[in-house]
Amino acid sequence: MYKKTAIITGISGQDGAYLSKLLLSKGYKVYGTYRRTSSVNFWRIEELGLLGHPDLHLVEFDLTDLGTCLRLLHTTGATEIYNLAAQSFVGVSFDQPHTTAQITAIGALNLLEAIRLVNPQIRFYQASTSEMFGKVQAIPQVEETPFWPRSPYGVAKLYAHWITINYRESYDIFGCSGILFNHESPLRGREFVTRKITDSVAKIKLGKLDVLELGNLDAKRDWGYAEEYVEGMWRMLQADVPDTFVLATNRTETVRDFVIMAFKAVGIELVWKGNAEKEIAEDAATGKLLLRINPKFYRPAEVELLIGNPAKAKEKLGWAPKTTLEELCQMMVDADMRRNNNGASF
């Protein structure tokens, strides 16, 4: 049987795991790349039951090494590349701006150069992000909204976005940029605020943690379900023409709202007191302190409000989000209750 072959960079991340699940279910042969470290971990692929799948090949790789990019495209004979790899922690990008630029910006350029040299027919997906809107210039944000990134991460992603479009226009390469708004799942890393909240709520419920500490509770985000978003990535590369698409839910909520939802999911109601750095939340039933602010989690430059309109993706790709934020939050809390009950969570 003829098989399509795809490369997914960043296979050990949340989206890499869901996308490999999707592509394998469609009969693809998948090469998933990861960066070797002493603590590389495939828990997500394992949790989806894909570790050891005969069509999933895990490859040690480094996006900053152009020679290796060329060889990877050449030896795998890939027809689609999904560039999901990045230094993706916004906070870290303030400490490591050069590293972030090398991996997140120049890494995308390396892949595009490799496509141009090895086989210009290879279709390329670039994982762009709503962080590129930063200090937003319009509400809601769409494909034409001007960008104003507020972190070295956002700036690096913006380079990768434009270089993808530039290679599309200059060399007729099928390069798509998906501007994805926050997308969460039980496979999210605990460094991200939603998963930090659901994991902490589970631990508090089970008596394994006293207090949840957060930064800015008023940041507003547009949160969708990651498994649906990777379907959108795949649809972009199956379209007739390459293009740029926003994937979002068109609903925005504050971090505070998400906290309330997560505690509600385990049957705890909160009472809020104080404000700004002094704000706290207590258990309405017992008066126990459950949440406080720690300014160390504030960003040097905050992104206050993100909300995306996915109308273009709906019209041209037939893509639309289905899972509500309440359902998503419940799913994440349930997974973290199960994991923490069974011992540990990653």
Binding site: S39, N41, D62, T64, D95, Q96, P97, Q102, E191
Partner: protein, 325 residues
């Protein structure tokens, strides 16, 4: 309290070194390049200990591309001792990723030396080099005077770093040195290494979770020691009156066949019943296996490898069996 800085703190050696220095009441700073993997790494027991984390142990996000950030972090920490252990650790992988390997294994060291050169504080610096710098050595065992002759990009990058540490010692009178490490193993070894691959397979076969062990060849020979001893040797090197380069090794060669035999024996099984050969896994075998002469370290530092080959393999298998529960 003395202050130490460790790069590669989540690796096998870095984590044992952190354990050792914390037990000696050091303040320990560690560099980590992925905040998401610390909680599942070799230092998870330290990170989870509120009496240590943020009090005696401080972790910094950082990587070697960001020299300005490193400079800020190191200047603030004012370390008395600096242990540079980080770097892509596979000679085989360096043939696939030569440029990335030379950046992370070679240039990284030079950037650190440049930072230390400008510090007002006098910082002793140790670089973790490797027997790979000798490549296919012309004689055995090798000592500190054996010519450097690497055969992989990894070995060449290690040699570059080692030479730079020596050059800074001579040119700027800085207390900078290298330890030339031969293979050293422990339960914290990553699964890519042959010792751990065998130990894991034997533990799983004993528990009935796996039927056979696929290996390329049994003829490869190595000088295998006990990692916690090697880490102790690194510390001893920076306590000496004169900072200098040393080899840490056992001086004894054993084959992969002996590894396999000991591992299966330790759980009462016969290796011949379970080992299958896969020609795809055969790597080039060196004409002369790397074997190090540790007599300089024994003489000047009183250093010893305390856990012999058989016991080392038993401990690895036992640790893997424990993990399976």
């Amino acid at each position: 309290m003395p202050v130490a800085f460790i790069t590669g703190i989540t690796g096998q050696d870095g984590s044992y070194l952190a354990d050792l220095l914390l037990s000696k009441d050091y303040i320990v700073h560690g560099l980590v390049h992925r905040p998401d993997s610390v909680g599942s790494s070799n230092i998870r027991h330290l990170v989870a200990d509120p009496k240590i984390m943020g009090k005696q142990l401080f972790l910094h996000n950082g990587s070697f591309e960001d020299a300005t950030h490193l400079r800020r972090v190191i200047s603030r920490a004012q370390p008395d001792e600096f242990y540079h252990l980080a770097g892509q650790s596979s000679p085989r992988l360096s043939l696939e990723l030569p440029e990335a390997t030379v950046d992370s294994v070679g240039m990284a060291t030079l950037r650190l030396l440049e930072i230390l050169r400008d510090l007002d504080h006098r910082t002793k610096f140790l670089y973790a080099s490797s027997s790979e710098v000798f490549g296919s050595p012309s004689y055995s065992p090798q000592d500190e005077l054996t010519p450097i002759n690497p055969t992989t990009p990894y070995g060449a990058a290690k040699a570059f770093s080692q030479q730079m540490a020596r050059i800074y010692r001579i040119a700027y009178k800085l207390p900078t040195c290298s330890v030339i490490l031969y293979n050293h193993e422990s339960p914290r070894r990553g699964g890519h290494f042959v010792t751990m691959k065998i130990a894991r397979a034997v533990a799983r076969i004993k528990k009935g979770l796996q039927k056979e062990l696929q290996l390329g060849s049994l003829t490869g020979r190595r000088d295998w020691g006990w990692a916690p001893d090697y880490v102790c040797g690194m510390w001893q090197m920076l306590q000496a009156d004169v900072v200098d380069d040393f080899i840490l090794a056992t001086g004894k060669l054993h084959s992969v066949e002996e590894l396999v035999q000991n591992a299966f024996q330790s759980v009462g099984l016969q290796w011949r019943d379970y080992v299958k050969f896969d020609p795809d896994l055969v790597t080039t075998v060196e004409p002369i296996a790397p074997c190090g002469n540790p007599s300089k370290a024994q003489r000047l530092l009183g250093w010893q490898n305390t856990v012999g080959f058989e016991e080392m393999m038993e401990r690895l298998v036992a640790a893997e069996s424990d993990k399976l529960g």
